[in-house]
C-alpha cells in the first residue's frame, strides 16, 4: 500500500506526535499493571515509587478470597456465550433473508432494522426494566441474553453487506437441486462467510463482556454478579479502604481475555470496525 509523501520536514514531527500519543495510550495500562503488583502501602507512599520493590503476584490470588471472582468469571462466561451464539444464529438468518431472498416488504423491514441502530438505549431503559419486571426477569440472566436471539441492526447490516458479495449462482445451483433456503444458509453461505461471522461473534463477545449497565440494572443478587459488577462492588467497597491493589488486579484480569482475543483476531477486528464505519 503506497502512502503519500509529506515533506521531509514533517517526518520528524510526525514521529514525535505519534510516539507521544502512543505513550498517552499505553502508559495508563502500564500504570495499571504496575499498581496491580504492589502492596497497598507501596501505592500510597510519597514520593511515589515507579515500580514495586517486589512483584506482589499474590494480589491476584488474594483477590479470589476478597470477592468470589471465579464465580463472577463463570457467570460472565455464560452470558457471553449465550450472546455470541444468539447473535451469530439470528443475524445470519436475518441477514441472508435481506440479502438473498426477494420477498414482499423486504425494503421497509430492512429500513426499520437500520433505524433501530440509531435508537438511544436511554429511551428503552425504563420500559424494558418494567417489562422484565412483568416477566419476572429481574435478577435473572434473561434480560442480558434473550435479546441477542432477536437480531441486531448493526450485525444485520454487516452480514447483509457481506452476503451480497457472494455470487448468487451458488444459491441458484443449490436451488435447482431442490435445496431450501435454510439448507442454503447452513451448507453454503455460512461456511463461505466465516470472516463476517467471526466479526459478529467477536463484537458480540466484546459488547457483552464489557457491558456494565445491563447487569447493573437487572442483577442484585451478589452470587449472580458479572465481572464488571464485581469490579463495581470492589470499587465501592475497597477503594474507601485504600485496597486499590485488588481493584487494579481485578481490572487486569477483566481486560486480559479481551486483549488476548484482540491479538489473536486482529485482522477481523479491523475489518469489523471499518465495515461499520465507512458504509454506515
Amino acid at each position: 500500500m503506497r502512502r503519500w509523501k509529506t515533506g521531509p520536514d514533517f517526518r520528524l514531527l510526525a514521529y514525535v506526535l505519534l510516539i507521544g500519543f502512543s505513550l498517552f495510550c499505553v502508559f495508563p495500562l502500564i500504570w495499571l499493571i504496575r499498581s496491580s503488583l504492589m502492596t497497598s502501602r507501596e501505592m500510597f507512599t510519597l514520593p511515589p515509587r515507579l515500580l514495586p520493590a517486589a512483584l506482589q503476584w499474590n494480589n491476584y490470588l488474594d483477590l479470589f478470597h476478597v470477592v468470589p471472582f471465579g464465580r463472577y468469571f463463570l457467570n460472565t462466561l455464560v452470558i457471553v456465550i449465550l450472546n455470541v451464539v444468539g447473535a451469530v444464529m439470528s443475524n445470519s438468518l436475518i441477514g441472508y433473508a435481506f440479502a438473498r431472498i426477494r420477498f414482499r416488504g423486504r425494503t421497509i423491514m430492512y429500513g426499520i432494522c437500520m433505524a433501530t441502530i440509531m435508537l438511544p438505549q436511554t429511551v428503552t431503559m425504563i420500559p424494558l426494566f418494567i417489562e422484565w419486571k412483568l416477566f419476572h426477569g429481574i435478577n435473572t440472566y434473561a434480560p442480558l441474553t434473550v435479546l441477542a436471539f432477536f437480531g441486531n441492526g448493526f450485525y444485520i447490516f454487516m452480514l447483509h453487506q457481506f452476503f451480497k458479495t457472494i455470487p448468487i449462482e451458488y444459491d441458484e445451483a443449490a436451488f435447482v437441486d431442490g435445496v431450501n433456503h435454510f439448507q442454503i444458509v447452513i451448507r453454503i453461505i455460512a461456511p463461505m462467510s466465516k470472516p463476517a461471522l467471526a466479526v459478529v461473534a467477536i463484537f458480540s463477545f466484546l459488547t457483552s463482556w464489557n457491558d456494565f449497565f445491563g447487569p447493573f440494572l437487572y442483577l442484585n443478587d451478589q452470587r449472580k454478579y458479572t465481572l464488571s459488577l464485581g469490579l463495581k462492588y470492589l470499587i465501592s467497597g475497597y477503594s474507601v479502604m485504600g485496597q486499590w491493589q485488588f481493584l487494579m488486579a481485578a481490572s487486569v484480569l477483566i481486560v486480559l481475555p479481551v486483549a488476548l482475543l484482540f491479538f489473536i483476531t486482529q485482522r477481523y477486528f479491523i475489518q469489523g470496525l471499518t465495515m461499520g464505519g465507512l458504509k454506515g
Binding site: G7, A97, V123, M248
Partner: protein, 312 residues
C-alpha cells in the same frame, strides 16, 4: 433478485408465482425473530415509555395519568434538569470535537509514510478494548490528587498539581481527556477512509504541483467528509448517553458539576421511583437526539461530498 429473474425465465409463469409465494414464506420465516424482537423490545417499550411519561408511577401502586405535568415540571421546577443538560452538552460538544479532530490528525499521521504503522495502530486501539467500568476505575486512580500518575508527572515537571475529577472547573475537561484516551476506533475508521482515496487523484495533484495543504484541502478533506459526518453523529449519540464514568468516578459531583443527563434520569427512576418523570426525560433526550441528527444530516448536503455526486 438475480435468482428469481433467472428462475422465472427458466420456469413457466405458474412456477414463478409459486416461487414468489415460496420466497415470501421463507423471507418472513427468517424474519420472525425480527418481527417479534421489534414488537417486544422496541415498539412495546417505546409505547410503554410514552404512556409512562404522562403518568405518575412508582411501579408499586397503579400509575396515575397526569397529562403533561412531567414535561412541564422538567422545564420549570427542576433546576438540576438544566444543570444536567448543560453538563451533557458541554461534555458532548467539546468532547466530540476534540475526539474527531485528534483522531483525524492521528489517522493523517499514520497515513503519511511512517514506519511501524501497525504497531502504532495497535497501541492507539488498545484503550478502546478496555471496558468502561475498568477505565473508570483506572482513571480514578490516575487522577488521584496525591498518588495518581498525572499529578506525580506534573509535580516532577515542576508544574502545579490539579484537582482533576475532584474540581468543579476541571471535572468535565478531565472526563474529556479520558474519552480522548479511547479514540482508537475512530482513528481506525478514519485511516481506512484515507486509504480508500483513489491514489490517481493524489498522484495527479502531486504532478500538477499542488502543495500538501492544497491536497489536504481539495482532495483529502472532501473525501473524508462522509466519515467525519458518521463519527460526529455516533459521537453525539454516545455523548448524550454518558452514564458509567460519572456514576463510578464522581457520582455527579463535585457540586453537580458532572451531573450527566442519564445519571440524573437514572436517579429519578431508580432512586426516587419517579418512573413517569424519568420517562419524560428519556423522551426529551430521544427527541433532542433525533432533531440534532436531522439538523446535521440536512446541513450535511452543504459540506459532505459523496463519490459520484456531481453537485459539488
Amino acid at each position: 433478485m438475480a435468482r428469481s429473474s433467472f428462475l422465472a425465465t427458466m420456469l413457466r409463469p405458474r412456477r414463478a408465482r409459486f416461487l414468489s409465494r415460496y420466497n415470501n414464506f421463507w423471507g418472513w420465516l427468517f424474519l420472525t425473530p425480527v418481527v417479534l424482537g421489534l414488537s417486544l423490545w422496541v415498539a412495546f417499550p417505546l409505547g410503554l415509555s410514552l404512556f409512562t411519561s404522562f403518568a405518575k408511577w412508582d411501579l408499586i401502586t397503579a400509575p396515575v395519568f397526569v397529562g403533561f405535568k412531567n414535561y412541564i415540571d422538567m422545564f420549570t421546577s427542576d433546576p438540576l434538569f438544566w444543570q444536567a443538560v448543560v453538563v451533557t452538552l458541554y461534555y458532548t460538544v467539546a468532547g466530540v470535537s476534540l475526539q474527531v479532530i485528534l483522531a483525524f490528525l492521528a489517522a493523517l499521521l499514520l497515513n503519511a509514510r511512517v514506519r511501524g504503522v501497525k504497531a502504532f495502530r495497535t497501541m492507539f486501539y488498545l484503550p478502546s478494548l478496555v471496558p468502561v467500568i475498568v477505565s473508570s476505575a483506572l482513571w480514578m486512580w490516575l487522577y488521584n490528587p496525591q498518588f495518581g500518575l498525572f499529578n506525580v508527572l506534573l509535580i516532577s515537571l515542576g508544574l502545579p498539581p490539579q484537582k482533576w475529577v475532584f474540581g468543579i472547573q476541571t471535572v468535565i475537561p478531565s472526563l474529556i481527556l479520558m474519552s480522548v484516551w479511547g479514540i482508537g476506533n475512530i482513528i481506525i475508521v478514519f485511516l481506512a477512509g484515507l486509504q480508500d482515496i483513489p491514489k490517481e487523484l493524489m498522484e495527479a495533484a502531486a504532478i500538477d504541483g499542488g502543495s500538501a495543504f492544497h491536497r489536504f484541502r481539495h482532495i483529502i478533506l472532501p473525501f473524508m467528509t462522509p466519515t467525519i459526518l458518521y463519527n460526529v453523529v455516533i459521537g453525539i449519540i454516545g455523548g448524550f448517553q454518558t452514564f458509567t464514568q460519572p456514576y463510578i468516578m464522581t457520582n455527579g459531583g463535585p457540586a453537580n458539576a458532572s451531573l450527566f443527563y442519564v445519571l440524573h434520569l437514572y436517579r429519578q427512576a431508580f432512586l426516587f421511583a419517579k418512573m413517569g418523570y424519568a420517562s419524560a426525560m428519556a423522551w426529551f433526550v430521544f427527541i433532542a437526539t433525533g432533531v440534532v441528527s436531522i439538523i446535521i444530516f440536512r446541513t450535511s448536503t452543504w459540506w459532505v461530498f459523496y463519490q459520484g455526486d456531481t453537485r459539488k
